[in-house]
Structure formats: C-alpha cells, structure tokens
Symmetry: C2
Subunit: 602 residues, 2 copies
C-alpha cells in the first residue's frame, strides 16, 4: 500500500495564507482561544494518528471485512483498539461543547483534521464521525434531560451512534417511510419497522449504541410532514444512567458491498423498541437535517481524502516506475528507462488529481467558515446569512466534489497501469471506497435538484446572484493585476455565462418542471467548475504575492501557480460542453417511451 502523508503544507496554506482561519476563530464566539498554534497542533496530531495508527489497518480490514453471526457484528482486527486510542487521545470529544465534556474546538477544525482519517481509513472515519453528528443533533434539538442522559457518553466516546433514515422502499423518498412510533402512557414510544443501510448499526466496539430513528406516529400527516425523530438506545438505561436491558432493536443482516468493507452496513429491525421523542412530533426531518447538512460537507472532505491518498500513491509510483523514454529525450539516461512522470499523459492524470483536490479543499475549508458562523455567530442576521449562503453552496460542494473525486481515484489507478488493478497496491480500494460518495447523503441527481430547484428557482435566483456578486467583486478588485489576467479574465467570462445560464434555466423551468431536472446535473457540474475557478484564482493571487515577496517555500507557491494554470487550461473548459448540454432541453431525455429503452427483439 502506498505511503500517505497528510497534506499539511496545503492545509496550512489554506488556513493561514488564503482563509485566515486564526482571524476567523478570533471573532467566532466560543472559539476565540483557538490560535494558529492550537490549529497546527491538532493537525499534526491528527496526521500522526492517521498515518501511524489507522492507515496500516486499512488494507487488512478491507480484506477481512465485518463478521455477522447471530445478530452480532464483529469488526475487522484492530479497529476497536484504534478507536480506544482515538478516545484516549481526546479526538472524540474535540468538537463537542465544553459544557458537555467536550473541548469546544470549532466543528470546522474537526472536519478539516478528519480528511487524513478518511484518507487513511474510511470506515474508521465513518465510525468516529457518527457519534459526533448524533451528539450535535441531540444538543440542538433534544430536551435538557435527554442531553444530560446521552451527551456525556456520546461525547466521551463511550457509546456508538447511528442515524436510521432509509427503509427498503424509502431511500431518496423519505416520505415513503413506514416505521411506526406508537405513543405509550409513560411518554415513550414503541418503534416498529425495518431500516436499511445503517452504518455501524451493530458492532462490537462499544457496549451501547444510540440510534436516531425516523418514524411515523399513527395519526401523523402524510409524507415528509408526518415524520418524527426518536432516540432508540440499543441498551436501555438504568435510572443511574448505566447500561441496562437490551432494547428490542437488532441487526438482521449486513450488506456485502463494493467497498468500505470494514464499515458494517446493517439492516436494523425495530420490534416495538422503546424510543424517546426528540422535540415535537412531525418535525423529525427538520431535526435530522442538522446532521445531514454537516454530513454533506463532511462527505466532501472524505472524498477529497480518498482522492488525495490516490494522488500521493500515483505520484510516488510515477517517480519510481521506469517505462519508456521521454519523447523529448532521455531524462534518466543512466537507467534502463525514464520514470513515467516524464510522460505528458501521466502528468495529465496527476495534475487532474492535484487541481481537483486542492481546489475542492479550498472550497470546502471556506464553506466550513460559513458553517461555523451559521452555528456560533451571536448576531442573528450574520448567522442567517451564513446559513443561507452555505445552504446554496452545499449541493454544489457535495455533488461536484464527490463526482470529481471519483474521477481522481480512477486517474490514480490509471497512472499505475495494470498494477493499479492489483489489490496489494491499494489504489483500487480507494476507487471502491470512494464509489459510494456520489450516492450516500443524497445522490448527485438529488443534489442537483436541490441546487437548481430549491436553492435557485424557488428563491428567484437570489442566492446565485449573491454568490456571483461575491466572485465579481473579487474579479473587479484584481482585474488590473497583469499577472492574474490569465485567471481573472476567463473567470469573469464564466460568471457572465453562469448568470445567463441560470436565467435561461429558470425561464425554461417556468413552462415545464422537467426542464429543470433535465438541466440540473450539468448545471451543478458547471457551477462546481466555476466555483473551483474562483478558488484557483484566489490561490494563484496568494501564490503570486508570496513568490514576489520571496516569503516561504517558493517551490510550493510555484506549483500552486502552475496547478492554477492547469486548472484553467485543462479542466475549466469542460464548462464549454456543459453550457451546451444543459440548455439542450428536456425533449432529448423525456421523449423516449419508457418501454423503448431496451427492445431486445426487432
């Protein structure tokens, strides 16, 4: 398996040079004490843990997979112990509020530092992020008593946690869910039904597991308006808070999956299990979206992690693998052949990875500042505005980043040639592990409807206008800088085109809603390319300044500038195609009779 080094240089470049995270934290309520030193310490320690503890477990765990017997799930060797070390080191409690035993580190820094965890051991990242997400949901929406009951042990890492949304007939369409919740005289509910695709629904790493379950009360309104959210612990708690009797929730089976073999994906059966309502009945979906929005951003970071691990493997291999001579003359004349990094075709694969990874990382880290503000800001207007801006960017972030990350892990495998197809080299595992990212937490198709439908058409394009104004302001400020012309000028052109395309799509939607669905995926990808162009222009600007001032590692800033150029010349032009295809109309998709897709006999 290829070695992995946490890309600390790039992360520090973003946090310090580009996004001024120290400044951000200094004005963020509750985070004022998180200075550059703390940030670096957390990043360095997370890097060490990822590289030394969980990375070596990843390949063997993929081969071993999870074991299921008599309703019990056993994780592959080493994961439980690594988790214990993770807790000992204080990672579990890092982003939780201090009042509940956490360390009060902002969520952004937790997510940023989790990239290395996802890159080195994706199932471990899933396992450890779940309790954090569930704790946040409880902290935001549950009663004081519930908080007191569940938060301390979720935060100190004692308990595992899940989110139970999907049912066999209800995936994207949660309105179809059938699990019922029947009110009992004591105020609890009996939960009955079956959930599927429940990550870490059952396992042997923690004694208790706290399930957050969506279910429907008997007299609830139809569809999504009638869904409530419940806490269903695996073990009911005794009055002193200790683990008590087994609740009527059990694991029926685990899925055999393409990847993420060390992450048990469970069918969970609730047979009149005791559940505790969070908040009010019928508000469950809204509560769950607290967790879902964070999860969508985190899934971007995970995907970047997979892509980054693949990139590093591919670059190392391209240095060491000797095949053919450079067409422009031998570069390694004393060797039997040149390292394949001399070949333009190989460089094209590697730079595609580098440009996407670093661009997406910048995008995500900036979005995480908005997430912080939308959570912690005391000024209500500022908080709301950040929430709305983040809401607009989230489907682009989740959809675009997971799509291009899949391209990246495949490019890394391709750089290895047939050796990439061999499991021992680890490149194919990244392809398998990454593949689910464009489907979970809402498919790319769903993200695109969220972006063009809810977040654009339904708010009259306001969010899009607001974002374009922000990028336009950047262009206006920098359009006279000669060294940035190669970026600012095409970026400004794309902004104009984006505006125009948005208007066209909004108009087309007015006559036929299918026009929206027919444009949306290409529109989402187009938007992603423009957003990344914005970040590459910003990074090029900083790199230029650093190179002029002679400050810092010039090779790093030179590479930034070159990667920006690659992005603008080799990847951004894909928008030329998307601009055409997204406006080609719904007819080329909708005209075909459903029965004519496959006609096997003439």
């Amino acid at each position: 398996m290829a070695a992995y080094k946490t890309p600390l240089a790039d992360i520090q470049f973003l946090l310090n040079d580009l996004l001024d995270y120290s400044g951000h934290y200094s004005t963020l309520p509750g985070a004022e004490e998180v200075n550059a030193e703390t940030i670096n310490m957390i990043l360095e320690e997370s890097a060490k843990f990822s590289e030394n503890v969980i990375h070596p477990l990843s390949r063997p765990a993929d081969e071993e997979g999870c074991h299921f017997e008599n309703g019990e799930v056993t994780l592959p060797k080493g994961l439980k112990e690594a988790r214990e070390l993770y807790i000992e080191n204080g990672w579990a409690a890092m982003v939780a509020p201090t009042e509940w035993g956490g360390q009060g580190i902002p969520n952004s820094l937790g997510t940023i530092s989790s990239e290395a965890i996802a890159a080195t051991n994706p199932p471990f990242a899933v396992m450890t992020s779940l309790p954090t997400g569930v704790a946040t949901t409880i902290e935001t929406h549950a009663s004081q008593e519930q908080k007191e009951t569940y938060l301390p042990k979720l935060i100190d890492g004692c308990w595992g946690a899940t989110m139970c949304l999907t049912e066999p007939q209800a995936g994207t369409d949660l309105g179809l869910l059938k699990t019922t919740a029947t009110r009992q005289e004591d105020g609890t509910y009996k939960i009955a039904g079956s959930k599927c695709f429940i990550s870490f629904g059952e396992h042997d790493a923690t004694e208790n597991i706290i399930h957050l379950v969506l279910a429907r009360c008997p007299d609830a309104p139809e569809a999504t308006a009638g869904i409530s959210l419940f806490i269903v612990p695996k073990l009911l708690l005794n009055t002193d808070g200790s683990n008590g009797n087994r609740n009527a929730v059990s694991c029926g089976s685990i899925e055999h999956k393409m990847g993420l073999h060390a992450s048990p994906t469970c069918v969970m059966n609730f047979d009149d299990a005791t559940g505790f309502l969070i908040g009010d009945e019928n508000n469950g979906l809204e509560y769950m979206f607290t967790l879902m929005n964070d999860a969508r951003i985190a899934s971007g970071i995970s995907a970047i992690g997979f892509a980054s691990a693949s990139f590093q493997g591919a670059v190392a291999y391209a240095h060491e693998r000797l095949q053919m001579r450079s067409l422009s003359g031998a570069k390694n004349p004393e060797g039997p052949a040149d390292p394949i990094i001399v070949h333009p075709g190989v460089r094209q694969l590697l730079l595609t990875q580098k440009a996407f990874i670093e661009g997406c990382r910048a995008f995500t880290h900036d979005a995480l500042k908005l997430a912080d503000i939308s959570k912690y800001a005391t000024d209500e207007k500022e908080r709301r505005e950040a929430y709305s801006r983040l809401g607009y960017l989230t489907p682009i972030l989740k959809g675009f980043i997971t799509e291009v990350s899949n391209e990246c892990v495949n490019a890394g495998l391709q750089a290895y040639g047939a050796h990439g197809y061999v499991r021992e080299n680890g490149m194919e595992q990244l392809v398998r592990d990454c593949r689910v990212t464009t489907m979970f937490e809402g498919t790319t198709q769903i993200q695109s409807l969220d972006l063009l439908g809810r977040k654009t058409v339904m708010n009259q394009g306001k969010s899009n206008k607001c974002y374009i104004a922000q990028v336009q302001a950047f262009c206006d400020t920098n359009c006279d800088t000669e060294s940035l012309k190669e970026f600012i000028s095409p970026l400004a052109d794309k902004l104009t085109q984006w505006q125009d395309l948005t208007q066209k799509n909004m108009t087309a939607t007015m006559t036929d809603l299918d026009e929206m669905g027919a444009a949306s995926v290409d529109y989402l990808m187009y938007s992603g390319y423009v957003v990344l162009a914005y970040y590459w222009a910003q990074m090029a600007k900083v790199a230029n300044e650093k190179l002029k001032s002679g400050d810092g590692n010039s090779a790093f800033y030179q590479a930034k500038l070159q990667t920006a150029r690659f992005y603008y010349q080799r990847l951004l032009p894909r928008t030329n195609a998307l601009a055409v295809t997204m406006t080609s109309g719904a007819a080329n998709l909708m005209d075909m009779d459903a029965d004519s897709f496959v006609i096997s006999r003439l």
Copy 2:
C-alpha cells in the same frame, strides 16, 4: 443479479440494416456461405448459452475467486464444466480454418457473438478467447510442423493457451524484457525468466496449456528489435502428440485483483523450460501483434458487453424502483410513488449508456468488416488498404470504447443509488470487471500515442485525411435530406474542426514531441466522439428510412432516432471542451518540477 438479454435486435439492425453483413460475407473469400440464416443461428445460440449457462455462474464465481495451492490453480465452481459444454457446442472451433478442424466462420462473427459472453461472464470470455488468438498467431507465423502439432488441439478446445508478454519491469515497455532464450543443439531453446499478469497461465480446466512467450536470445539486438516468440507448452508432447512430461514452467502466484476474480492472473516462472521458436529470431513482437490487434478490437467488444449488461440492469431497476413523483405530475398515481425512469436525471444516465453502447457497437462491427478484409481478401491492394484503415481506427476504438464503457458501468451503478453499491445486485461487479479495460492491451495513454504519433504524425496525417474524406462523402450525400440536417450539419462542422485540430497538433509536434503527448489523450477522445457521431448519423438515416417505409418495429427505429438526437445534443458537445484542452499546449503539463507534485511541508 439483473437479468440479461443479448441485444439481438440491435445487433441484427447493425448486421442487416446498417452494415449489410450478408453482402460483406458473400464477397469475402472463404465466407461466401455465411448467409443471414447462419448469422442469426450463431447469434441466437450464443445468446442462449450466455444467458442460460454462464451468466448464472458469474456472481458466485466472483465471490469464490480462484484458488492457488502448491503451484496449482483451481477455477471457481462451474467454469470448467461450462467450458466443456462450450466446446461440445462447437464454439471453440467456430472461427478456426476448416483445414485445421475449424468451422471457417469469419472472425468478425465470432467477435460479434462474443459480446454476450463478455457481458454475462467476463472471465469465461477471457478463457475461451485465448486459445483462438494463440491459434491464429500460430497459423499465421509458425511452421507447418508446428501448426500440425498445436493447431488441432487448440482449435478443438482440448488445450488452453496464454500470451506471455509482461514482466515486472516490462509492461508498456516490452523493450525492457529480460526473459532469455538459449539455443540448444536440437534446435529448441531453453527459456528462463519470470512473466507476470498472465491470464489463465495455470488452471485446472485443461490438461495442457500452450504459452506463447516473448524472450530474448543472448546475442539479440537491444530493446524491441531483439525479441523472439516461442511456443512453450506446459506439458511437453510425446512423439505421438499426446501429453508427456511436465515442462519447466510453473505458476508462482496469482494476483488478488479488483475484479475478474474468476480469471486467474498468474506469475509464470520459466526455469529453462523447453521452447520452440516461431518464425525467425528477433521478429517476435511483430508476430505477437497479430494477436494484439485482434485483442484490442475484442477488448472493445468486451467493454461494450459490460456496459450493455449494466444498462439493462439499470433500465430494469428504473422501471421497478418507485421513488418520488415526476416533477411534471404523477405518472403512477395509483402507486406510492413513480418509477424512477420518469426522472430526467435518471434518464440522462440511461441514455448516456444507450448512446455510447449502440454507437460503439456500430463502430466496432464496422471495424470488424475491415478486419475480415485485411485478413481474407485475395486482392493484395484491397487487403493492405483495409489493414491500414483498420490500423488507424484501432487505437480510437480500443481507447475511446474502454473509456466510455467505464463511464457507462458507473452510470448504471449510479442509477441504482446506494443499492448499486451492494454486491448482490451485480452492478458493482461490472464496474470492477470493466475497470481493467482502459489498461490492458495498452493503456488509453498508449493508444493515444499510437493514434496521434504513429498513425497520424508519422504518416503525415494521410490516414486521418482518408477517414475524414469517407465521412465527408457521407455528409455530402445526405446534406440535402431535411430530416437528417440536425445530424449532418454538426457532423460536417466537427469534421472541419477535426481536420484543423489534426493539423495544429502535427505542427506543434514538429517543434516539440511532448506537444504530441500533451494533446494525444484529448485528441483520441475527440476523435472517438466524432467517429461515433458518424455512426449515429448513419443509424439515424436508416431509422428515418425504416420509419418512412413503415417497415419493421417502429418503436425500435423511433428509439434509434431519439438516441441519435441525445448523442448529438448531450454527448458530442464534449468535443467543445476537448478541442480547447488539446490545444492548450504542453507547458501546463511539463512545466511543473517532478518534485513539486507533492510537497507535504511548507
């Protein structure tokens, strides 16, 4: 696992309506008796065998994998027996010459009928195609005595066969291979060295295995000019032709791979094994390319097979899976939700598959006519011309088709949502099995250098001009047909652009060979999109005529026309991006210092 039906309607449309295969065979020396009835019979029987015999084995064989113990390889359950039935049914001998016990069916028809085999059981397709390829190489280049010794039992399916090219240090760069061949007094050679990535190098399905091995004689010229080709049987033959003693060739290990689990990929060790020279010393690579050219076309057909299986699975699922309502009003009001085939985003995935699959199938079936002519035509000029035209198209075919097939199998998985990630549904196996196709038989990067370097720059663009003239003639003939304008007009534009881009790339290459490598992958993909546009225009023309005449299944022809429209409006515009990126110059790839790709510390 999704059901699979061989796409006979589409194949028959191509062979009868579009490409007049009966006419082709009626003038092809040796194939005159292959009429429409024979063609249909072979396709129908191959369909039955694929659907009923080998398809049910595919998923279990993927799960079971191959077993390696003490140098012996055991195939997963059922493959050996299926192979015996395949031989009994006469498939093994189908395309072999009648003089050696074959049925004299043209290679084209064998390849066309193999799509269903690849679609339903890829490892089975690998296993059964190898002896055919090896027999062709022996028949073309070996001595009469060698033919008599090896052909009958390769052709009747008694023996297995391999091609042993790759070594750990010599993949793409065969000039680096080290396996030695030492001449013995009796005219045989002692072969010593280690080969890797040898498909079916060892297995329990046949008693003997005939290896074709590339090796270097001690006094041979350096690099590729000094490579010879040898027959190395696993069991040496007794004077009566029966299997005798074990030769000094053995399997050292098998690879653990991403997919194709039922196809053993072997390290083969030759410890002074007895080998028999084919033809002359140092001509080995040329002989091997007989097989390699066929293999590249066959890999296109296999990739189409994977994509087609994925497409059928996805369409079936899109009909049966109920989620959400159509945005333009409920289409299944009596059900709990609409089938997802009503959603434009899902249709976009399915139509991307359909347009690529059917376009690539037409391209390949037409190329197979050239392959027939280049092999069987008695007129030397006609033969040579077909060989040259096919040689030009082969890298486009192999490179483009395997790339877009990978897109297709991923689109099929995406249409399933998270259910596609579950192994039982079979969609992810197609992704894993297909993934190797862009690497084996020469990576896409290598195909692109072959296309732009050897086949374009080095022949002054003659082959490209010749092909463009052919497509231009089609445009000229049809440009006045009103109903075809939506296809002919953009096709003619693309031809002009292709010509221009070819010239630009040739000019750029003159100053710097790296410009060629920097343009080549995008140029190959661009070329593929234009070639497919040519076939979609041809298919639209036939479909239009059929619809006008009221002849045949109008739903089929209507769908053809709609898919052509989808291709032109949704896929061909990708050339807009490729035209820009391929002319963006080598600097954006080559400027970066090799050590700057990864800088982990600032």
